[in-house]
């Protein structure tokens, strides 16, 4: 296929104005900087009056990490707000191109570190699409994925509510939120061995089955979580100070959300019940009974209400998932195809988590071919057919998309993550401009950005 013919002369590098619209340049004023002058002189020349630009962040506790907000203020009113990102860019997508498909989960789990299991699930679903094994994933693996994702959704929302409350001075909201999250992190530790950076969901299934007695432990923990959620709701939702700070702040209506592709609780606070779990189900979400809570206010208060509601809906899904877990006890959690299935049988040992001794004995002592196969699969990895795939999942912050491209090799040719926080931060200016400086903190907290996911 040949290149599209284009006879226009190449414009100067980085020219972004449409070609053929020459008169536009006359409307843009140009300023010249030379010598040891100061940018302030240029700003004064350009604007002719005093303007105060406040640089909030990147190191500011209320910016959820290293988010930089550039606010132009007039008294207490924000007249212009811009978000600057990139302070936590770690090149995860580039790194993934140099690791096997399975090792990719270890990288993408570190993107949005508050909701790591969603990146893993989305990435693995995309890889499974390319492998053509979407329908071969064992039921128990899908149930565990759903269970882990919903637990993670609650944990993530609790961080959002807790830190959001803390930023407004409500320390109790923060302590309750984190205490409740602790219960969930303990469940994660029991299943994956880690509290974050799990790398638990793998292409083909999950790394290891849930430990014995997990559902009993989880039921007890979730009873506590439900209690904490009630406390949080009691503390926040009817509190007059809380309502005064949040109501009609950071309003973004439906058309604004659609134009800026803002998804998740922010979109649902405008009344549109859009949720990927219902719209384009994955992992068998269509077989679970749950609702998509919405509200009409489109402001920060409604988003808090929605997040608490979503936690209750997640608990409802978890209960159904745990029933299925009990029913599928002992069934496989990894795809049957041994050319793809990760051969590990993990167990907790004295030096952390690794392959169980019995499993090592078995593969080392019974079959030379099995040992070779194990070695090749772990070091070299499996090959993935040529092509590209796109998979989205409902992340606590919105729609998370994964675009993977394979050249038929053992490594991703390209893996791109459409992180919801990255996209939603574009709404910062719309939500903050015209409001007060103190409302910026509230508005950004209602977007709930996690900079590890934004910058990747």
């Amino acid at each position: 296929m040949s290149a599209p013919t284009d006879h226009r002369p190449p414009p100067a590098p980085h020219a972004t104005r449409p070609a053929g619209n020459e008169d536009m340049s006359s409307t843009v004023r140009a300023f010249e900087a030379y010598g040891d002058g100061d940018w302030d002189d240029i700003a004064r020349e350009a604007i002719g009056e005093e303007r105060i630009v406040v640089n909030m962040g990147p190191q500011h506790p209320s910016t959820h990490g290293v988010l930089r907000l550039m606010l132009e203020i007039d008294g207490e009113t924000v007249t212009e707000a811009r978000a600057g990102i990139g302070y936590l860019h770690t090149g995860i997508e580039k790194n993934m191109e140099f690791r096997t498909w399975t090792q990719g989960t270890t990288f993408c789990t570190r993107m949005d570190y508050v909701a790591p299991l969603f990146q893993e699930a989305a990435y693995c679903l995309a890889v499974e699409k390319l492998l053509g094994i979407t329908d071969d994933i064992p039921e128990r693996a899908s149930v565990i994925r759903v269970l882990m994702m919903e637990l993670n959704r609650i944990a993530s929302h609790l961080v959002c509510l807790g830190t959001g409350g803390n930023e407004m001075g409500a320390t109790t909201v923060m302590t309750i939120g984190f205490t409740a999250r602790e219960e969930i992190l303990r469940l994660f530790e029991a299943v994956t061995g880690l509290r974050m950076n799990h790398a638990y969901i793998r292409p083909g299934g999950v790394a290891v089955d849930t430990p014995e007695g997990f559902t009993t432990q989880a039921r007890a923990a979730l009873k506590n979580v439900r209690g904490y959620l009630k406390q949080l709701g009691d503390l926040m939702l009817a509190n007059p100070i809380f309502k005064a700070r949040l109501t009609n702040v950071g309003v973004l209506n439906l058309s604004g959300c659609m134009a800026l592709a803002v998804t998740g609780p922010v979109l649902r606070s405008t009344g549109l019940p859009y949720d990927v779990r219902k719209d384009n189900p994955y992992c068998g979400y269509e077989t679970y009974d749950f609702d998509i809570p919405t509200s009409k206010g489109a402001d920060c208060y409604d988003r808090v209400v929605l997040r608490i509601e979503e936690c209750y809906q997640s608990l409802k899904i978890i209960e159904q998932a745990m029933e299925r877990l009990d029913r599928t006890e002992g069934e496989p959690v990894m795809v049957a195809d041994k050319k793809i299935a990760w051969p590990a049988q993990l167990a907790v040992g004295g030096d952390g988590q690794g392959n169980s001794l019995e499993h090592i004995k078995k593969i080392m002592g019974t079959s030379m071919e099995a040992l070779i196969h194990h070695f090749k699969l772990v070091t070299e990895g499996f090959r993935v057919p040529v092509g590209q795939a796109w998979q989205t999942v409902e992340h606590p912050r919105g729609e998370l998309g994964v675009h993977v491209v394979s050249d038929g090799g053992t490594r991703p040719y390209r893996a791109h993550f459409r992180d919801p926080s990255f996209n939603n931060l574009q709404a910062t200016s719309v939500m903050c401009e015209g409001g007060q400086v103190a409302d910026v903190v509230v508005a950004v907290a209602s977007l709930d950005p996690v900079l590890g996911g934004v910058d990747r």
Binding site: M1, T16, H89, F98, I133, T263, V386, G409
Partner: protein, 255 residues
């Protein structure tokens, strides 16, 4: 016997399936086992394998794909009266990725529309505005660099979703490395603002008409575009328990 000459003469030797357009060679692999640099004792060292992306699909595509392509064709051809591009001019090919499913009705089937780069905004406009298409939500732009795809090295992939009809499709646009310009789609999908900045930052694709095309993840004075295949990963050897682990891009690759 040998369909591909060992000299790596790409494209000409690759035969597309009957009725389909030519295949796009995106990569050429040599040898059998991926590992390079070692003495070849296998005899497979001279093997040259061109990697081609899936070819254009033939009608019927199945599922709702036919309807969307038909409506898009109708809308674009109607638009020619007002100076818009016709369907044949704007759309290069339509690819249906079944991902091993039996039919396009399966959940994993995906539709890709390859669009001529000068018409991407017009196609987006048609996809967003027509009541039978209604792809209201743009889930961003991602870039892919195919150094072996001569004259079409840089690809921008747009992921669109229709909430009204519960549908998803992607647009793929290619630009040559010598003139990496693609018109911006921010006038149709304002949300693509940061996504196009990111793609510019990582791949050097210049989106003409973008309101402020600056770097977003890398520092403003950064040289080069890190996600391109000719940009090294970097890294240093790490010593651990007496052994030295080389940086990932110098380790043996099996691909």
């Amino acid at each position: 016997m040998s369909e591909v000459s060992p000299s790596g003469d790409q494209g000409s030797a690759v035969q597309p399936p009957e009725g389909a357009a030519t295949l796009e060679v995106v990569e050429v692999k040599r040898g059998m086992f991926g590992a390079g640099g070692s003495g070849d004792t296998s005899g497979y060292g001279g093997l040259v394998t061109p990697i081609t992306m899936p070819a254009a699909s033939l009608r019927p595509y199945g599922s709702w794909f036919d309807q969307v392509v038909d409506v898009l064709s109708e809308v674009l051809n109607e638009g020619t009266a007002t100076g818009g591009p016709g369907f044949d001019e704007a759309v290069e090919k339509v690819v249906v990725d079944l991902h091993s499913a039996d039919s396009a009705d399966a959940r994993q089937a995906e539709l890709t529309i390859h669009v001529a780069r000068e018409h991407v905004a017009a196609v987006c406009q048609a996809l967003r505005d027509d009541q039978d298409l209604r792809f209201e939500l743009s889930l961003g732009v991602s870039g892919v660099h195919y150094p072996h795809d001569a004259g079409r090295e840089l690809h921008a992939v747009y992921h669109l979703a229709s909430i009204t009809h519960s549908r998803r499709l992607r647009l793929e646009v290619a630009a040559p490395d010598e003139y990496p310009h693609i018109p911006s789609t921010t006038s149709v999908y304002p949300s693509n603002d940061w996504h196009e900045r990111e793609t510019y930052d990582f791949f050097g694709i210049v989106f003409d008409g973008h309101p402020a095309l600056t770097r977003i993840e890398m520092p403003d004075d950064w040289v080069g575009h890190p996600q391109r295949k000719d940009y090294p990963l970097g890294g240093i050897p790490v010593e651990y328990k007496g052994a030295t682990v080389p940086p990932p891009d110098t380790r043996r690759s099996y691909s």
